[in-house]
Amino acid sequence: MTFKQYRAVKLVVVMILAMTVSMSVARENYLIPVMALGIAIAVLLIVRRKVKEIVADERDYEISGKAARLAMQIFSWFAVVIMLLLYAQRTINPSFEAVATTLAYSVMLLMLLYALIFYYYFKSSFFEGKKIYLIVGLIIIMTLLFFAGLRLLSGEDGWLCKNREWIKHGHPNFPAPSTECKK
């Protein structure tokens, strides 16, 4: 398979994936997108192995490094500004505070990951051994810990869906969800 064919297949797979995810989320089915993502990754990995040409070289890696750094900086600045604005306006709508906190945690996690990965590459060679799996494992563990922490720190105050009605649980400081309660 040529590189051009691989790119065409990649484009088609991404388009199908995007359609599947958007249609599934619209129908409130969250299992199909996860499965579709897994299948898409597997298909792309298999197809990539069939490419005889060089898919990426040192120039691509250099460009992707620069692009990743720039994307990270833009996202961080954007998220911080939006976070401050939302936090300042939290009296208007209490849900602004939750969004601001989520943005703050996202930027913090991104910075932490960047620092850890930078430290790792600074200390060792990129292609040395198979330590890359350690990093991927560490990232997964950290992400899980992050969400577990959010769940533990968020407390028990919230809204419960019962008999097609949103019922207060504890003392939530945000309004009831705007989505329909179906249970």
């Binding site: 590189f3 040409e53 060089i54 990426a56 070289d57 040192e58 120039r59 691509d60």
Partner: protein, 49 residues
């Protein structure tokens, strides 16, 4: 030798060779040595150092 052949021999994409020729990309030492070896010349001659 074509750009495509040279690219294949040194393990990069043809676009990288094009950018190198145009002076728009600084190769790694490994790539510079690889190209010099394939073209049977030295790095300083190849890059006019």
């Amino acid at each position: 030798m074509t750009q495509e052949e040279l690219a294949k021999r040194v393990g990069v994409r043809r676009e990288t060779i094009v950018f190198l020729e145009q002076g728009k990309y600084n190769p790694s030492l490994k790539l510079a040595l690889g190209i010099a070896k394939e073209l049977k010349t030295s790095v300083d001659t190849l890059f006019s150092l």
